[in-house]
């Protein structure tokens, strides 16, 4: 796999991250906040989160907004993500669908042993085709 020998030459863009950090620290250092309000000593934070998530009235000790719709959407998104992951991991070989899951990833392992310098001709149908763009 990569991140091999030339990783060091990529350090330069990292300075941008450092710069961002400096700027943020500078900004935060100058900022002042009032004292945190806290939840009160005996408030049941977990229960409050549960109520908020299912949007069940104002039963929680700590205030919050209703999140039922968001909750459901996240649920669906997770489901979609699973499906998407399965879909992406699938590939077709000789007309039959072979999923990465069914072979336990052995194929992947086999190929990774060949290393990245495997002859390009073996790439078969997956070889990227670079289309000449319209200039």
């Amino acid at each position: 796999m990569t991140d091999g020998p030339d990783a060091g030459s990529n350090l330069l863009p990292g300075l941008a991250a450092v710069g961002l950090f400096l700027v943020m620290v500078l900004a935060f250092a100058g900022a002042s906040f009032p004292a945190p309000q806290g939840f009160g000593g005996d408030a049941n934070v977990t229960a409050s989160i549960g109520y908020a998530m299912f949007d069940i009235g104002n039963l929680g000790d700590v205030g919050a907004e209703g999140f039922l719709a968001a909750f459901l959407i996240v649920a669906i998104v997770l489901d979609v993500a699973i499906d998407g992951a399965v879909f992406l991991a699938k590939r077709e070989e000789g007309g039959s669908v072979v999923t990465a899951l069914t072979d336990g990833g052995r194929d992947l392992l086999d190929r990774s042993r060949e290393g990245p310098n495997a002859p390009r001709s073996e790439r078969g149908r997956d070889a990227p085709r670079r289309e000449g763009g319209d200039e």
Partner: protein, 678 residues
Amino acid sequence: MAGAFDYTPAIVLLPFLSFLLALGVGRSMPKGGALAGIAATGGSLLLSVWAMLAVANGGTYNQTIYTWAAGTGNSFELTFGLLVDPLAAMMLVIVSLIAFLVHVFSLGYMNDEGETGLPRYYAGLGLFTASMLGFVVANNLLMAFMFFELVGLCSWLLIGFWFREEAPPSAAKKAFLVTRFGDYFFLVGVVAVFATFGTAAFAGEGSFPALAEAALAGEAATEINTFGFAPQTWFTVVGLLVLGGVVGKSAQFPLHTWLPDAMEGPTPVSALIHAATMVAAGVYLVARMYGFYALSPTALGIIAFVGGFTALFAATMGVVKREIKQVLAYSTISQYGYMMLALGAGGYIAATFHLMTHAFFKALLFLGAGSVIIAMHHNENMWDMGGLKERMPVTYWTFLAGSLALAGIFPFSGFWSKDEVLYEALAHGLGGTPLLLAAWAMGLLAVFFTGFYTFRMVFLTFHGEPRTDVARDPHGVGWNVKAPLTVLGVLAVVAGFVNMVPVAKLTGAHIEFLHDWLAHGLGGLTSEHYGELTGQFAGYETGYVGSELTTVLLSGALSLGLALAGAGLAYKLYNVPAPVEHTDRLGSVKTLLFNNYYQDEYQVWLADTAARNVARGADKFDQGVIDGVVNGISSVSLFSGSRVRRIQTGVVSNYAALLTLGLVALLLGIGLMGGWFL
């Protein structure tokens, strides 16, 4: 007698029907649609005669029959209507008669010669006749213009009939283009008439000549928009604009150049064009709206001068031509010059008279020439003819009658009408309009040339010894050629007797039938009214050499003498067994005449070379500058795009780095502005 006028639309529609029939089912009709055309024009002729009888009984007809565009009533209407008065009735008969005879003649000239495309030919003839008849009965200027243009289209179709050759399509194009150039001015004139008067009717209380007259007389100038000019000036301008169309169609100088080329068309078509339809249309238009021209001495003067000049100018060119039809073509130009001269000189009746007699004798001459051409196997060169007199007597005698009329020899029809034209010009010229005298002089001089070229043509064609084998044994012609020739031959002899002014003046007998004919009719459209108008507004007075009688006789004697002199010279030079070309004696003038005074050259240069160069320049400008700017703008954006896209490396890390840097810059900016960093 209202019955006759109810059928007036049919006069126009019958030939139109024959056009549709020939176009649609001409292939399967006998004689390629010729019989339908003959029937239709025959029907038109009968109806026209009926209408003329109705007019003779004092009836006139001026009716709007169709609203072309009504608008919403805030503005003027554009309409079609019929106007049948003595002038129109006379012209209807002439046009339908000649169209009828031309159709008959075409049986001999086209069908018997085995031409292809006959349905197209007869369709063209039918439409031509219909357009001209529609033009004749038009009761307003717009309708007249529309049919005027259709006449132009038909001339294009028929001149270019033999489209498989090079020359006819080119001649057709030239004819249409030159007349279109004239029609441009005409159209501006029509538009100006509408904008000025709000109507373009020829006759009636609200007609534009009547409104113009009222405006000039200072009586109730109701809403006449003269665009800031004095009414007199503006009317002259409008009149001259309309005259542009007349100059184009009637082949007056300088737009006469299309007419000799138009000889490329079939000869019967030439007869139709020259005698009764297209060329006649121009002069007829001036006569039709004479009440308007009579108001403007400038316009009249220009008409007269152009006419006189054209008469002389064309006659000189006719002197040297080799082809029989070319001679006739230049004679046509010249003769229409006479009519224009007459109109300009205030001789409304003279012009109409000459229009009529010319229609007969020129149709006769062309059909006679067509007969000769059939006989000569479509060779038109007169130097290849000779001695046809014995071999085709009917053609010879009728052609001779036509020639005598054309030359203006007593007592053939052309003498009477040409004499009256010249008399009017002389009389009004002596009456205090010296410009007319100059025009008169040119017209008079042209009489000599007319006599000369006419008889040169006759002698070269029919007299002497045959100069080629074909001329020795010409192709025979059938009844369908001889019959029209005979009818027209008789008319060419006798048509002049309807208006023998000198005889009337001499004997005091009341035989000026045409004067009487044109003197009645719709109010404001009579020759008497026109006489008043020219007197009142153009200041035309009649002056005499001695008395009226002496002037009449002097004028007649002068023109007859000159015509005889011309004919005599032709007799001396060409009525010999083996005539030779005398044109070389003219020296460099010969070249000038052969080249038609180089009129063609500059017009072709203007229409072709100059226009094409302008067009090419415009195209270069368009492609180079205008489109260049457009492409320049696009190449700027393309170029900058091709540079800017290089930051689009496709490497995620680079994008992320750019994002980060952007964020840092943004935060720094906002922070500094908002004083976050203290």
